[in-house]
Amino acid sequence: MNKKISITIDGKEISAEEGRELLWVALENDIFIPNLCALKEKDRPSASCRLCFVEIEGFPRPVTSCTQPVTEGMVVNTRSPEVDRLVGTAFELLLSDHRLGCSKCPKNKACALQRIAKERKLKLKPKRLDKFEKDTPIDDSTDLFVLDRNRCVLCGRCIWADRHIARVGAIGFSQRGIKRKVSTFGDKLLKDSPCIECGECVEVCPVGALVFKKDYGK
């Protein structure tokens, strides 16, 4: 165990383990920082969702808190005009590629996107950007759960769970750029993949992309 140090987040003095990522220190002390792709158990943060920006005194510009180890005396602000602008744009970008219709989504009220919108007073409907029209078929081939790629935010948590918790290797990312998506081998249906329907991937999905069938129509 590393030595204890003291840092300040939003004016609150906090004792933390030296070298831990700032994001977890904040969350464990009930200070909210938006995030989607972070997983405590991961060796190295993927830093891909770009939502957890914070401002640290002495740093020229906002940094992602999931990649930032804490050091003695660090002074952090989770909000600033610059941080809000970056987080706002990243959120709007993600929402421009996310199928809404929350009332029909089984994840309604438990969705990470809704939480972020509420905490940061952000609109779910993008105001500046057009929405990408996605109409990817929903994979409901397993008995246990449904994969709706139209709601996926590409955080990669399901893939991590598939590899590291379930140790199966049924899903992975395929393609690149705007076409990047969660796939099975050869883009087959989940029932034709090595998926064992353990549900670990569903547990970690922050949005309504992976949902248990039992939660539908609730």
Binding site: R163, G172, F173, S174, Q175, S183, F185, P194
Partner: protein
Amino acid sequence: MELLEGEKEVIISQVSEILGKHKHNCENLVPMLQEVQNQLGYVPELAMEMIADSLEVPAVAVYSIVTFYNQLRLNPPGDHQIRVCMGTACHMIGGQIILNSFERRLQIEEGETTEDRKFSLERVACVGCCAIAPVVVIDDLVDGKVTPTRVDGILLSFENSNNNEGKKEQEQKPVERGEGQE
């Protein structure tokens, strides 16, 4: 994609040979996939599965790689591969027009193969021959200063070569072979 009779055997023997040449670790994954494509023209699912097995990684991990890199193909290409350069110099001087000309003449879109499997059409980021833009690479030959009318000529020369039982192709080949020997 359904494999034709005999194709499966060819894939298995080729991939086994490639697997025999390399140490089975992930660092050799991309080189092995490149060799598979050199041999077969594309990377069939069966090959991906065989390689995944030998490296003891999930097949979907290999699929991630193949779909990520531009160079690797999931489907067999045409007999002749036409790659239109879309570098800055080519673009500014009409690369898109050349690509459109090929699309119009072959009646396919970029990234597709003609129905008779004779030609496939791709765009390439830059082949580094900017001084002779616009550039087209046909199979391995780089052709510069291409115009829409020349596009017709290029395709005609292939059609003629077929009518003459591949005579034209044979004429071109020795030069290429000479290259390789040096």
